[in-house]
């Protein structure tokens, strides 16, 4: 079985080498080799996943002692199948989409190398293989984003990606070095076994090693998954080819969630680190969504949407729902990949017909005309608040009765409830011939989404972390101090309720409010439209370093 997964990982390498060597002889048709090899790789990855699903126990195959280990475990096999699936779609799409490009063959070489690097990353069973593949993903992405060598802009933003990824490589290298120093092995399985046996056996810089490593792994994940302050590259990399954007948003950017999952045995003994990861994820989700809503460039809006989703994924890890983050990664990957790959067709169709039906949704969402004749607000408020809560509670009770004992579950329920309430709240304000039909359909869609989410995430939980005690440990490790947890929930609730009240108030007193708080509003809008000045600060910082470099060279006479 482990040979199967090695074959899956090595196939793209062979394809890349073949195309590089024989592109001159076979011309452009050689890319069919890449597509064929990726198809075979995808099928083999499905077979491997099926074997893992049918209960084959995790195995490892080593190429050189405790280095070059390929791990056949549920996380690796599942992600290998997802990567191969997305890669296959991107390959198929690129055959025609990239046909006019001068470096057509080279693009497929890079695509194959990227697929291989991603595969080695998810099946790496040792720290060296993990660090190398982690590093190479950033380098390859730089060249994929800079596929159009005529475009200075594409390269400028590809560089932003590269440098952020390199910033993320450094903590992972440090974590690997610290773990090797402590356990004298590169094998992840051995290290995790020793950590489980004696979690606090090693100290570094006066702190438990597990905490330091968890912080470093968390930082590496933040850079890769565009968490706030390390996010600036993501919305600006749209000048790369569309298939690369799809691959990046559907797969590569999710690597942070994978890394945290891979180091799950470390995070169990990491003190408050998961709490901080939750907070970073929360901030990213909020800021990403906020920035997405204020963009007038649809591509940048998509970029910020991904940032918000990544924040949510990291947040899920922060509350101990590790497997849910993987499910999120998969679902978001499919969703965002589809959006990017269909973007061209949508734009083309929209040139002839915008395709927007002039129905109640249009008048509400586009013309911004909310319903004037509304149902009694008390009744609607009750439906808005109670219905989503009942659906969520019942769905989760079907999974496990003690579900509500876990803080993480409560946080997720809270978010689910707010989202559901928001959906029905929006419905209430819509202009409709039959409001009850609309509410009914909204509730039905909410039921479908919630049930799907609950059951599939539960299935992911059982597959990725079959040991119930381990799952409980993950949730326990992510638990907040009760007082802090309550304060956080109350604060978040207040902010959301305040938001709703402000919406209501602004609708009632729109003109007066505008006059009174126009200045404040404009300042706030300026802040958001400049994306909180994060990119500007980085640009200023890099210019300062370059100026210093130039001055030093002049002073030292270029020697």
């Amino acid at each position: 079985m482990e040979r199967l997964i090695i074959t899956v990982a090595v196939l793209p390498l062979i394809s890349a080498l073949f195309i590089q060597l024989f592109a001159g002889q076979f011309g452009r048709s050689i890319v069919k080799v890449s597509v064929a090899v990726t198809t075979i790789g995808f099928l083999l990855s499905i077979v491997t996943l099926a074997l893992a699903l049918t209960g084959s126990s995790p195995e490892a195959m080593s190429l050189a002692g405790d280095k070059g280990i390929i791990l056949f475990d549920p996380l690796g096999t599942l992600l290998a199948a997802i990567i191969m699936g997305i890669s296959l779609i991107v390959h198929l799409y690129s055959v025609r989409y990239m046909a006019e490009e001068a470096a057509y063959g080279q693009f497929f070489v890079l695509l194959d190398l990227m697929t291989a690097a991603l595969l080695f990353m998810v099946v790496a069973g040792d720290l060296i293989t993990l660090v190398i593949s982690w590093y190479l993903v950033g380098v390859l992405l730089y060249f994929l984003l800079g596929q159009d060598t005529r475009s200075q802009i594409a390269y400028r933003f590809a560089f932003w990606t590269l440098i952020t990824y390199r910033i993320g490589d450094l903590p992972l290298i440090l974590a690997a070095a610290l773990l090797f120093n402590a356990y004298d092995t590169w094998s992840l399985t051995t290290i995790f076994a020793e950590i489980s046996a004696n979690p606090y056996a090693h100290q570094v810089f006066g702190l438990p090693l597990t905490e330091v490593v968890a912080v470093l792994v968390g930082l590496a994940a933040f850079a890769r998954s565009a968490q706030f302050l390390l996010h600036t590259w993501l919305p600006y990399t749209m000048d790369g080819p569309t298939p690369v954007s799809a691959l990046m948003h559907a797969g590569i950017v999710n690597a942070g969630g994978f890394l945290i999952n891979r180091f799950a045995p470390v995070f169990i003994h990491s003190g408050d680190v998961l709490n901080w990861i939750f907070i970073v994820g929360l901030i990213t989700a909020v800021f990403g969504s906020l920035l997405m809503l204020t963009q007038n460039d649809i591509k940048k809006a998509l970029g910020y949407s991904t940032m918000g989703q990544m924040g949510f994924m990291i947040m899920e890890c922060g509350i101990g729902a590790f497997s849910l983050a993987i499910y999120h990664m998969f679902a978001h990957g499919v969703f965002k990949g589809t959006m990017f790959l269909s973007a061209g067709s949508v734009i083309n169709d929209a040139r002839h017909d915008d395709g927007v039906p002039k129905d109640e949704l249009y008048t509400f969402a586009v013309e911004k005309q909310p319903n004037q004749a509304r149902q009694p607000w008390l009744l609607m408020a009750a439906i808005t608040l109670i219905v989503p809560l009942v659906i969520l509670v019942l769905a989760h009770l079907l999974i496990a009765e003690d579900y509500f004992q876990k803080q993480g579950a409560v946080v997720l329920l809270f978010f689910g409830w707010v989202t559901g309430a928001q959906l029905i709240f929006a419905t209430y304000r819509m202009r409709s011939q039959n409001i009850w039909r609309l509410v009914g359909l909204s509730v039905l869609s909410l039921v479908v989404v919630v049930l799907g989410y609950v059951f599939i995430s539960h299935a992911f939980d059982l597959f990725l972390y079959p040991d119930e005690a381990f799952r409980a440990q993950l949730y326990a490790a992510a638990s907040f101090d009760l007082l802090r947890f309550d304060v956080l929930v109350v604060m978040t609730t207040l902010i959301i309720v305040l938001g709703w009240l402000m919406t209501y108030y602004s609708e009632q007193n729109g003109v007066r409010r505008a006059q009174r708080s126009k200045r404040l509003w404009l300042n706030f809008y300026a802040l958001i439209s400049r994306e909180f000045y994060v990119s500007d600060i980085y640009t200023r910082l890099s210019r300062t370093i370059l100026a210093l470099s130039g001055r030093l060279n002049v002073w030292l006479r270029w020697l």
């Binding site: 190398i132 005529r150 090797f180 030093l552 030292l556 270029w558």
Partner: protein, 253 residues
């Protein structure tokens, strides 16, 4: 020869600031491309020979000077536009770090291996720099650009060589730096921190070099691209270098 003289000489060949200026002046004054390539390989080897003969205890200021030199040149490299000079500064920043294995009493054989492995990609880069000078009269970034379209084979080789020079896996410099970090992280975290910072600067400088050369519109003037046998020769060298890197990684880590 007294140890002080030996130390100063070693500071010239495994460059330490301000003796490092000697190496960069030599590179600057050497116009013959072949001679420059030879210097890039021989220079650090001379340094290893000298430090192998040092018998005195290493002075307390040596480590700070090593880290300062490496960082100074890593920062300075960011604004260089001349490819040969760029390579010389990168060599200075990298070779200064060879003092760290020396301080950790790494065997002379291993040091020779480190020196050669670090020097080879740099040697390839100065050879390519000579190729640019031959074609365009100067090997400068942001002067002509668009090499990816003008001379695609040459650009392909150039990019891979730059990638190898800035310590990207699976080339040997990556494993050497990784090994230094593993050796020092627990006892001397400052070394690892400085090294990682410099590593970031090298990547930044490498990206600036790539962008300044290969990005842009193709030249209207027909320029002779690299011959296919030469490409094959470079490819074989780079593959051997990568294979050597993997072997070295398996041995030292």
């Amino acid at each position: 020869m007294s140890d002080i003289v030996l130390l100063v000489l070693a500071g010239i060949f495994l460059p330490l600031f301000p003796m490092s200026m000697v190496f960069n002046a030599v590179i600057d004054k050497t116009s013959n491309a072949l001679m420059r390539s030879v210097i890039f390989v021989v220079w650090p080897l001379c340094g290893v020979v000298l430090v192998s003969n040092l018998t005195m205890a290493q002075p307390i200021w040596l480590l700070p000077l090593v880290l300062f030199t490496s960082t100074l040149y890593a920062v300075r490299i960011l604004t260089l536009r001349d490819v040969t000079q760029w390579t010389g500064f990168l060599a200075t920043s990298l070779w200064a770090l060879l003092w760290i294995p020396v301080m950790h009493e790494t065997s002379a054989e291993m040091l020779y291996g480190y020196a050669v492995s670090m020097a080879l990609p740099l040697m390839l880069l100065v050879t390519l720099s000579a190729g640019l000078e031959k074609r365009f009269g100067a090997a400068y970034t942001d002067l002509y650009g668009g090499l990816a379209r003008t001379i695609p084979r040459f650009s392909g080789v150039l990019v891979v060589v730059i990638v190898a020079a800035v310590a990207t896996p699976v080339f040997p410099t990556f494993f050497i730096l990784f090994d230094i970090i593993v050796e020092t992280i627990a006892t001397e975290p400052a070394i690892s921190t400085v090294l990682l910072f410099n590593w970031l600067l090298w990547s930044w400088a490498g990206a600036r070099l790539v962008q300044g050369l290969i990005v842009g519109r193709a030249s209207q003037v027909k320029i002779l691209d690299m011959a296919k046998p030469t490409v094959a020769l470079y490819a074989i060298t780079l593959i051997a270098l990568a294979a050597g890197g993997i072997y070295m990684g398996a041995e030292i880590l």
